[in-house]
Amino acid sequence: MKRVAVVVFPGSNCDAETLAAARAAGSDAYFVWHRDTDLRQADVVILPGGFSYGDYLRSGAIARFSAVMGAVAEHAHAGGAVLGICNGFQILCEAGLLPGALMRNARLRFLSRPVWVRVEQTDTPFTSLYEKGEVLEIPVAHGDGRYVVDPRTAAELEATDRVVWRYVRENPNGSTSEIAGVTNAGRNVVGIMPHPERRDAPALGGQDGARVFHSMEARHATQHAVDVRAVDDRHLRV
């Protein structure tokens, strides 16, 4: 059973669903307030969706300086798994833990509806239970979802297989190369614009997103990321 810290910022609004999705997958999930600096021996950290700090200045720009983000960066740099969903993805980009940035949707409108994404990479802690090429129906809910990255980094992302999900059938927000989610060079930090926690049970209209959370619990999910546990403020490899 993995310990999963769901960080709550002022303005987070998908924290409860994300916690429920992680628990439904069998994780020992709990909330961590943005002012806390202790992730309480988390194996996985999830930054949930929402509108932290009202999206003032830029989405995620203020949240990325929250007290908790120092611990999140430390966890990430030690190889610990981190997932950013929607606003969480924006925060990870602003923090420099993922490349690129999320800008205003190309057609300006706030989008709240299902989209389709193709799983491009399965060797991350959040996609190990998917098949490469699988197409998932998962909803988006964002105004700033257009993934933008400089051409050199975009080429690097492709060359190193770091685009984890790509929009198919349509590009809802004008993202570069239809990118819906990416991972870092260490493949332990992952960001996704759509909301897998909103599609994790038949009662929610589908369960295409459930394996994002089940993957965290899957044994081979840690094959590519060092299994790290923080004990007494030191990170031990176990």
Binding site: L57, A101, M103, A106, L108, V148
Partner: protein, 87 residues
């Protein structure tokens, strides 16, 4: 120490799509201002910075831009202090 008024202009990088600027341009065209083109929309921030000199105020404001006020991936910025412009 004195207080310097620093104005910060943050603009979306020229190569990137600026859908807000485009929407404003379309609205202007619809109102009959056909002569307008390439409308781009950014942010204008006004700061009061206490510093020992104009240069120091500028250096601090530049650090604020690099750290928070502008996103280096998507935006460019320029600064003006107390009327004199600097880049």
């Amino acid at each position: 120490m004195s207080a310097f008024r620093v104005e910060v202009r943050v603009m979306p990088r020229a190569a990137l799509l600026d859908p807000q600027g485009q929407a404003v341009e379309h609205a202007l065209h619809a109102l009959g201002f056909g002569e307008v083109a390439r409308v781009r929309m950014g942010k204008h921030l006004v700061l009061e910075v206490t510093a020992g000199s104009r240069d120091e105020a500028l250096a601090r404001a530049r650090a604020m831009c690099d750290r928070l006020l502008a996103n280096p991936v998507t935006e460019d910025y320029d600064l003006a202090v107390d009327g004199g412009a600097a880049r």
